[in-house]
């Protein structure tokens, strides 16, 4: 294994320049996914450099931008949980962030990292989908429902960096995660639901975090039973180390029923 170079840019502009010009370079934020893979040597192509985004002040913080709340890409989950604006406007995101690992992970994990890693089990990703969040990069805005293009694949170009995520302020979203343990568990299924507009977003039930479009269409008509029935057709769960397809299908329907019958007010 070659020694991996450590690059510490002083601005987003410099980070973009370094990312464009450094071969086999991986962006690094809190490291909760990347450092594990870097140490295990499982990243392909094998990285020659990491680009440290964690310490960039431009990528920290929560702020109002017009009618939206913007969370910078390298803000920690702890910072998100403690933000008054996030607590007030995006309580489902606080709920999700509190289920991610424990204090050690919440102090380092970031929305930018959760998006870029694009795990189908990423805990915040259904929440982002249910809020119709917008992924902001160094060059454009990407609606989050166009962001996940395949198993751990994203719409990002090879030299594109996520800088922030923007959320509308007027949504009511409910969140539920099912894991083996209350803390420190990777989800068996994870779901976020909004009634108006109808958004049903689910993780760990397909190769990407997905919107359950058939179920959403039923919910849009006010047909809760129809939504619960249709969601089984929307998802594509598999058997893996954490659960089985049969369990995931049944629990997805049960959780959806529960969230729709007890909407957050």
């Amino acid at each position: 294994m070659h020694e991996v170079r450590y690059l510490r840019p002083k601005s987003v502009a410099e980070a973009v320049q370094l990312y464009r010009t450094t071969p086999a370079c991986r962006p690094l934020a809190g490291g909760t996914d990347l450092m594990v893979m870097l140490h295990a040597g499982t990243l392909r192509p094998e990285p020659r450099a990491v680009l440290d985004l964690w310490s960039l002040a431009e990528l920290k913080g929560v702020r109002r931008v017009n009618d939206m709340l913007e969370i910078a890409a390298a803000e920690s989950y702890t910072g998100i949980i403690q933000s008054n604006d996030v607590q007030q406007h995006l309580p489902a995101l606080v709920d999700a962030a509190r289920t991610i690992g424990a204090a050690q992970i919440q102090n380092r994990g970031t929305l930018g990292g959760n998006l870029a890693n694009a795990s189908p089990a990423g805990d915040t990703l259904p929440v982002l989908l249910a809020y119709d969040a917008i992924v902001v990069t160094d060059r454009r805005s990407i609606p989050v429902d166009q962001f996940f293009t395949g198993y751990r694949k994203t719409a990002l170009q090879p030299d594109e960096l996520i800088t922030a995520v923007r959320f509308p302020l007027d949504r009511q979203v409910a969140f539920r995660k099912i894991g083996t343990r209350a803390a420190q568990a990777i989800s068996k299924i994870v779901m976020a639901v909004s009634t108006h507009p109808a958004r049903i977003a689910i993780g760990s039930v397909a190769e990407v975090p997905l919107r359950a479009r058939r179920a959403e269409a039923a919910l849009e008509r006010g047909d809760i039973a129809g939504a619960v029935s249709a969601v089984a057709e929307d998802i594509r769960p598999i058997d893996d180390v954490r659960s089985t397809a049969v369990y995931r299908r049944a629990v997805t329907q049960n959780v959806l029923r529960e969230l729709l019958q007890a909407p957050r007010t």
Binding site: E3, V4, R5, Y6, R8, L28, G30, G31, T32, M35, V36, L38, H39, A40, A49, V50, D52, W54, S55, T78, G101, A102, A103, Q104, I105, N107, R108, A182, A183, Q184
Partner: protein, 148 residues
């Protein structure tokens, strides 16, 4: 690169992409910090960076440039143990000892953040630290004894 380790200025030459855990143990001799899983699940490698508890196996050492890092070696004041360390001894909260440094640091932060803690608060605060010996009860009792 430079950072502060347990109140002492230290410097490190080498790739900033190395794990903080490895630099602490192999280069700086701070072997109180343990490696368990290397995946951010077990918390044995917990350290404090600018007062926040993190898994040092997930931190690139370059990221602590200019930061204050505290390991278990930094808790006691010379030979004088903290009340929390003393409670771990009195309550029998350590058995094999591998989880103990991380437990102490996570509990230290928890006690700094809130004077009043319930058993559930302690369980949640220590959820990122796995112990395979004690069954946790004595650890939780030891931490709770410091809130009174």
């Amino acid at each position: 690169m430079r950072f502060t380790l347990n109140g002492r200025a230290v410097s490190f030459e080498g790739s900033g992409a190395r794990r903080l855990l490895d630099v602490l143990r192999e280069d700086l001799g701070a072997t109180g910090t343990k490696e368990g899983c290397g995946e951010g699940e077990c918390g044995a490698c917990s350290v404090l960076i600018d007062g926040a508890v993190v898994d040092s196996c997930l931190v690139a050492v370059g990221q602590v440039e200019g930061c204050k890092v505290v390991t278990v070696e930094g808790l006691a004041d010379g030979g004088r143990l903290t009340a929390l360390q003393q409670a771990f001894i009195e309550y029998g909260a350590a058995q094999c000892g591998i989880c103990t440094p991380g437990m102490l640091l996570a509990a230290h932060v928890l006690l700094q953040q809130a004077r009043r803690l319930s058993a559930d608060d302690v369980r949640e605060g220590l959820a990122g630290n796995l112990c395979r010996c004690t069954g946790y009860t004595k650890i939780i009792d030891a931490v709770l004894s410091c809130t009174k």
